[in-house]
Assembly symmetry: C2
Homo-oligomer: 122 residues x 2
Amino acid sequence: MDLVGIYQCLCDRTRLRILHLLGQGPLCVCHFQKILQEPQVKVSKHLGYLRARGMVRSDRRGNWMIYSLQAKPSRELAANLACLQDCAREDPVFQRDLERLRKLSPGFAESSPCCRAATVHR
Amino acid sequence: MDLVGIYQCLCDRTRLRILHLLGQGPLCVCHFQKILQEPQVKVSKHLGYLRARGMVRSDRRGNWMIYSLQAKPSRELAANLACLQDCAREDPVFQRDLERLRKLSPGFAESSPCCRAATVHR
DNA sequence: TGTCAATATACCCGTAATGGAATATACCTG
DNA sequence: CAGGTATATTCCATTACGGGTATATTGACA
């Protein structure tokens, strides 16, 4: 993906919030729904947009799809994602998202059972 | 302008090239036309887009409009413009633009008579 | 196999963006 | 004022985007 493509991914608020959150580690769709408080179809479509452009990858884990940032980002992509994280540090919306993320699944970052903590898993 | 607005400005190839060039200093529309090799209306409209969003400013100098980057960019804007300059260092299109810029008006960076060197100023 | 939960896709609509052709505006100069 | 140059704007067609509703797909599990 070239530089323009990167910026096209970044130029929507929902996608920005998604990418910012993914900076913390992999997340599944239900997490995004809860943190962003946006309808499922909206979250799913933006994730699809990012995946179609190679910005994120998705892995199925049972019923859930786990999204994560591209493993080997280009120099350009890495630089811009770092810039995003930096800019987000002062933005209340991004910070609130981080708060919600921490409340949802403490210590999710490495541990895999993504949706265990967030959903009623009968 | 918020972060999304910044990325919206950056998500078009022509605007990216314009902003990259403006990193070298103020330029007038005719310079952009010659360097980008794009029609006048296209250049002018993208410049208008950037100006409407406060990304660049314009100053009239006789017949010519001199465009320059915003004097006091926000932290976010400054960070992203720096990131752009960094990414452009490896991109042949951006580098070719710089080449053309240098050929057009050597030593323009500080000196003001923007279009003196580039146009036949009878 | 049937049902349920999680996610994705199809379809539709309103809006914005892009680009070109033609025209308008602003300024300079004689 | 007239004519020319530089730039902006208007109009138009095309396309992309964002969001919503409804529906389809996928996998788990009884």
